[in-house]
Symmetry: C2
Subunit: 226 residues, 2 copies
């Protein structure tokens, strides 16, 4: 029984890593579709989201079966519950990548915005992509230094969100209504990708260290845009 | 052991109902702060979110303790896992109510927007409040007719989101940049409140009917704005 259990846990871990890799690729492509006004990439992200959803359902089902049949306790239970949450978080990040791709597709053949507004959105997308890749690395090798990096970069992402709103509201950069709407939604989606990366990273840190206050690893406990 | 277990399950159920009631009150106040440009109500929502977060943590902790110590199986396991998720969903809805209150506070002493744009946002806020109250009723008395009502009203909320974007982009209603930004964010927050209400309602339906495809109860399987 215990050996089967270990195998199941490993399968769940492998599934999460695979899911994380799919999501990182989706965010990467979504960021590039935004930067390069690339319709093909945007379509790939939109179509590819099904695979992410299906994998998430399989992982969830494995976790629930494991909770029901093998009744893990202590650390194992913590791992299974964390895996359930991590897979939900990753699935949501896939949705956000798809939202970004929708905006890029809607604006095609143009970029979503122009000038400094577009540059700031592209910076946000690049940073979101970096963050998601770091979360996948963290899942893979449990290097906790990545948690601090992710926290710092999530702060940068929050700052870029404020920059976007500053460009729109205070600096009144030229942009038509569609561009303003897209910029607001995109900056929010990208900022949420950062939030989810950080909360996923904290979850991994908690599993690795067993420290309930894994947020102590991190300078800024702020998870969400207010 | 079994008796203690039943008691624990009931406590978790009571906790969820209390959490749902707090969130419904928060959404209600946030909607009124938007409609009436009421600073006091907005402040109450913002300050009150701490209580929601704390209760969510207590429920989560009870669920995890229960999983670890009492190792529930079958229906009981399903209830505990669903309770974990429902409490996370409700907590997130509390955050969204707080976001709405922030926008109302930021615009004070003015309304967030004017004319038809403001009217549409207020309609969305009222509908979101109705949805959350119905979710709480569903938690309380398991009347599954509410699931269909929530699904239909969530569709109406999605339609109002499209109306808001149509007013902004196609009809070009008069609004300054701050108002456009606020309207986009608010309509998104309110639409997400509908999504969360529906996914929470489906979870309750699943628990009550044991039917994995509880979504069959519902006309439109669409959970999310695309």
């Amino acid at each position: 029984m215990r050996t089967i259990f270990r195998q199941d846990l490993e399968e769940i871990g492998d599934g999460l890593l695979h899911l994380g890799t799919l999501v990182a690729t989706a965010v990467d492509k979504a960021a590039r579709s935004l930067k390069e006004a690339d319709l093909q990439l945007a379509e790939e992200v939109i179509v590819g989201d099904n695979e992410i959803d299906e994998l998430e359902e399989r992982i969830e089902s494995s976790c629930l079966t494991m909770l029901a049949l093998q009744q893990p306790v202590a650390t194992d239970l913590r791992v299974v519950v964390a895996a359930l949450r991590m897979s939900a978080t990753l699935e949501r990040m896939g949705d956000l990548a798809r939202h970004v791709a929708f905006a890029a597709r809607g604006a095609y053949p143009n970029h979503v915005a122009n000038g400094e507004l577009q540059e700031t959105l592209v910076k946000m997308a690049d940073l979101a992509s970096t963050l998601v890749h770091k979360l996948v690395s963290l899942l893979e090798d449990h290097n906790l230094e990545l948690v601090t990096e992710i926290a710092n970069e999530d702060n940068q992402l929050d700052a870029l969100l404020r920059d976007t709103f500053d460009l729109l509201i205070r600096q009144q950069v030229p942009a038509n209504r569609q561009q303003v709407v897209d910029a607001v939604l995109l900056s929010r989606f990208l900022e949420r990708l950062g939030d989810h990366s950080l909360s996923g990273a904290k979850r991994v840190a908690y599993l690795v260290t067993g420290d309930l206050d894994a947020s102590a690893l991190i300078d800024d406990p702020h998870i969400e845009m207010d």
